[in-house]
Amino acid sequence: MADVELRQVVKRFGKVEVVPGIDLKIRDEEFIVLVGPSGCGKSTVLRMVAGLEGITSGEILIGGRVVNQVSPKDRNVAMVFQNYALYPHMTVRENMGFSLKMRGESREDIATHVAEAARILELTPYLDRKPSELSGGQRQRVAMGRAIVRSPDVFLFDEPLSNLDAQLRTQMRMELRKMHLRLKTTTIYVTHDQIEAMTLADRIVILKGGDIQQVGTPIEVFEKPANAFVARFIGNPPMNILEGVFRICDGKRFVEVGKSVFPVPDGRGAVLADGAPVLAGIRPDSIKMGDSIEKLPREWWCRGEVVVSEVLGGQSHLEIVIDGENELIAEVEGRVVAHPGEIVPIGFEFDRMALFDPETTLAVD
């Protein structure tokens, strides 16, 4: 159990700056997910915390202790790798007990700890098998078992679920969450999958080009993205972002996108002047159809033409065109039946609309 702190951590490989300097405080018992597109430096950050990668400058603290010069084995962190990195010549039992054996613990202690971890992870029947005789999900569990037997201060996960099929991934996601609720060990989890990030994290850290774009709870980063990148990256289908102009007319404030007019509720975009260029972000799930538009004010309604519809069962993804020119992706309830070519009434939750500065792409309050 420990908190982790990164202070102005910089990583360069030769002349290439992978991480230009990040600050991050991870609280004790917190589940933090680092998410970003590939090459954003998230794995590098994880490896720096593990001590597998040196840092060019800055400080990393684990439990209040500066660990820049501490070797990986003395940091008391455990890591689960994408390809599990199980020792192929050892049985499951030996794999899980290896770190304890290296620490010089007695045979009885190792046996107790391994048995306990195997019980939690339901691996007891497989203890004498080799990794090659296990399925992907079981290997994944062994890798987790290897991490938990040592009761480390910090768990590090490097895309641990990306080699599993979709169903197993969902199941393991649940188990990971349960395991964290039970063990409460501080966890840093790296993934490129925003669904994993949303479902697992206490707080999400969104990275791009080695820079932190936003740190926040899943709801915060979803509803209040700090910039257009975060807005596009989090959420599936991604946020609709349209280029428009901010207008103030007769005391009413709105964004003009071509022929369409999106009203801006009071308190939003206060710093914007009339005629300022702006990016309007609309979440697909803030577009409503069918009965649910009744709850929205009349002036937030319009008509749109359905171009394509993807029925997923629980919901449907629709591509719609409003005012004959603006294409939007909408996520509506599965009960709503919409056929391509149909003109339907739609409603927008404009109070959830996000505004971004087109120059800096930062969110405008």
Binding site: A50, S71, D74, F81, S99
Partner: protein, 354 residues
């Protein structure tokens, strides 16, 4: 298939047949030499004949030679591979340097090492560069021998060796599964050892007269030369193996607290067991076939450094005793088979299981 059948298995059969005849002596080169079937007489003579002591020494030489070559080349090759695996500066260059001896012909390296190990030059004068007295060790012509045993007691010696290895295996197995180790190896090992010590006198003598064989020091030079030539090869095998181990596994071992030594000891080297086995097989059959290096270093007629393959050549083509030569060849073939067949069987079993 037909060609392999004729040129490999047909000729093996022909050799076995020849080894059971009396083809040799005067008239053996006649166009149609007289051959008579004499059964296993040639073999009996090789192992017990009064005049075949040279062959028995050759066999002993071959055993010591194989063991030391295996230990030396595998150990040294692994050591260099571990050093290079740390990715030192100039790794690619060093790798070529270490592998280079392999590309030399044995005749060439034999000649080089003969010069290096000459009594008044090469290695022996090295200390003089540091102001010390030169060495006087006769690398290739020493007549000394260590670990001498009497061929008469061959059976008891073999039993002692077997008991020693069983006890060793038992002690090693104690760490994993003490009960099984004691039952399977330790107790039988001690029993065999004690029984040989108590009742060894009852074992039949392998020979009717005393005949001493040992590890001839003169073969040391040859062993050094072969290790020099082959450690680069084992290094290449191990280096390829080490490079094939994923970085994640190494990282995992580091996080598990293995450290560099622990990583190689517990993870990398056990994982490369198949490579070790193939290195042992390849080196042991090379050591059994060793001919040209010895020919170049000490000449064909140096009894101290004799080797079965060399003797086979001399018996067959110089003494024209084709039948005896064939018998030596068959003995060599059987010895090689004892190395390779267990390997093939275990491979086959593994494939069946996997």
């Amino acid at each position: 298939m037909v060609l392999i059948g004729v040129f490999v298995y047909g000729f093996i059969g022909n050799t076995v047949w020849t080894s059971m005849t009396d083809w040799g002596g005067s008239g053996s080169l006649a166009l149609d030499p007289e051959k008579h079937f004499i059964g296993l007489d040639n073999y009996v003579d090789l192992f017990t004949g009064f005049l075949s002591g040279g062959f028995r020494q050759d066999l002993v030489n071959a055993v010591y030679y194989s063991l030391m070559l295996l230990g030396g080349a595998v150990g040294l090759g692994m050591f260099i591979a571990i050093l290079l695996d740390r990715k030192p500066w100039g790794e690619g260059f060093l790798r070529t340097v270490f592998l280079y001896p392999m590309s030399l012909s044995f005749i060439v390296s034999g000649t080089i090492w003969r010069w290096l190990l000459a009594p008044q030059g090469g290695v022996n004068v090295l200390p003089t560069y540091a102001g010390l007295k030169p060495l006087h060790f006769d690398w290739l012509s020493s007549t000394g021998a260590v670990l001498v045993f009497n061929w008469q007691h061959l059976f008891s010696v073999l039993l002692y060796v077997a008991a020693f290895f069983m006890i060793l295996l038992g002690l090693w197995g104690m760490r994993h599964d003490p009960r099984k180790a004691i039952r399977r190896w330790l107790v039988p090992g001690i029993v065999v050892g004690a029984a040989t010590w108590l009742f060894g006198g009852l074992l039949p003598d392998a020979l009717f007269m005393e005949e001493e064989h040992g590890f001839n020091l003169a073969t040391l030079g040859i062993i050094i030369a072969t290790i020099w030539q082959y450690s680069g090869y084992t290094m290449a095998l191990y280096l390829a193996g080490f490079n094939g181990i994923s970085q994640d596994l190494r990282d995992a071992a580091m996080l598990d607290g293995a450290g560099e030594v622990g990583y190689y000891r517990h993870v990398a080297i056990p994982m490369l067991k198949p490579i070790t086995i193939s290195a042992v097989i390849i080196l042991s059959h090379i050591s059994l076939k060793m001919f040209d290096l010895i020919f170049a270093m000490t000449g064909p007629d140096n009894a101290e450094t004799g080797h079965p393959a060399l003797t086979m050549y001399l018996t067959t083509f110089r003494a024209n005793d084709f039948a005896r030569g064939a018998a030596i060849a068959v003995v060599l073939f059987l010895v090689a088979a004892t190395f390779i067949i267990p390997y093939l069987v275990s491979q086959y079993k593994q494939r069946r299981r996997g």
